[in-house]
Symmetry: C2
Subunit: 232 residues, 2 copies
DNA sequence: GTCCGATTGAAACAGATGTTTGATCGCCGC
DNA sequence: GCGGCGATCAAACATCTGTTTCAATCGGAC
């Protein structure tokens, strides 16, 4: 009957010349800007200069289109922004933290690449859609683990939940500038030239702030264990 | 013609006995859970045990209903969670920071009060809707200013953008656990009893982390100025 | 050229959703 | 009792939106 579903197309193959790719591109922009619910198939097709039926032909659903778009964004993301930021794993932990923060921020804020990749993924973080857990697990968990490893080097006294919470503190700072972007911008409107929102400033601030915290935490841990050894 | 708009009702007056209040309550839950787009007037009315026409009668629009709901949440929020957290303004800065973080987190995570107040407001932060800027300005800006004052006491060497970025770092940590709630939860599923997401643990961690950062920053600033004085 | 499958196109369908309408009910002052 | 008025209700309306249908088109294989 319906010859709609084209389960073929191994998700990577560049078979159809254009429309499929154009659809994903257009869908990415729409979804990133308006979210899944608000973005309409018609708008997407219009932006892709494709017929409305195209989304049903190349994908099956609006939902599958979304999922495929997210997959695309995810692949792009881990390919262009590896969490080690191009640094060797035996580089000093401080540098690796900076590289991590930088890569993380760049993923979100980078403007010269089609910027919807980051926005799409961050949208998933705040309101996850059912099936995509898999992708996110695959992308986020190793990233988080890598960060935990770095933090562990910087502050060996942190363990278990405290370690993970500290890693979350680093990520939270970075994400904040992304999530509350519009809000923060408005908070700084009184400054003539706006908030210095560039990658370098933020990387620098977040790295510095976090390193300061770890340093102080370690110092305190050192004192404590010294005292303990002294008393016993 | 249409006798729909009831511009009267001074936004606070408790004129209509029930339905208006029930509508706001139901709308709050629905909007907080599903966002503005996904939440349907029919669902809201069903939850409020009101007729579909009620939302048009008491408010004018779905949008006005949303706006009014947000106003309600906002009033509730600043009333029940003052940013000073009940502390006198001459209390030690460390305590005030803790109180601030605690109030901020509580606003978001508090479960025994109808928990949608916080969720609604935080939703506005990530995707602000046009008209409500006013409310948010009114609520967020003073809160942010208060935090900046606290941070300034804790780390006098921070100034201008660095000061504001540091305040944002504190807020970012707190918001992170709220925004990425579902994501974080999933990251910790391997732990049997889940992540210790309670208010106390988070307050403690964020305060500790931030205080550590400020302490270290101040120490470094002290060193630097000492060196400078020494050299000149 | 012809056939066939893949792709595209225009139109229509079906369902959901915000909004409106006109009737009805309950209450209060007269 | 009656008229007026605020409030509620069931039903319908108009629009938007995801999806489907079926014909038209294109490109290559034979």
């Amino acid at each position: 009957m319906t010859r709609a579903l084209r389960q073929s197309r191994s998700a990577d193959s560049e078979a159809s010349p254009d429309t499929r790719a154009r659809l994903i591109e257009a869908a990415g922009e729409e979804f990133a800007e308006n979210g899944f619910a608000k973005a309409t198939v018609r708008d997407i097709c219009a932006k892709a200069a494709a017929n409305i039926a195209a989304v049903n032909y190349h994908f099956r659903d609006k939902e599958t289109l979304y999922l495929e778009t997210l997959r695309h964004a995810h692949r792009y993301s881990i390919e262009h922004y590896p969490h080690h930021g191009g640094l060797a794993s035996d580089a000093p932990a401080k540098d690796r933290l900076r590289a991590f923060v930088r890569a993380f921020l760049a993923k979100m804020l980078d403007a010269d690449r089609p910027k919807w990749h980051g926005r799409l993924i961050s949208r998933e973080m705040t309101e996850p859609t059912p099936a995509l857990t898999l992708i996110i697990e695959e992308g986020v968990r190793p990233q988080f683990a890598a960060l935990c490893a770095i933090v562990h080097e910087l502050a060996p006294s942190l363990k278990g939940e405290s370690l993970e919470a500290s890693a979350a503190s680093v990520i939270g700072q970075a994400l904040h500038y992304h999530h509350c972007n519009s809000m923060i911008k408005r908070l700084y409107t009184e400054r003539k030239d706006g908030f210095p929102f560039d990658l370098e400033f933020l990387t620098d601030h977040i790295t510095r702030f976090s390193l300061a915290a770890f340093e102080s935490i370690e110092r305190a841990a050192g004192e404590k264990s010294k005292n303990r050894r002294g008393k016993h």
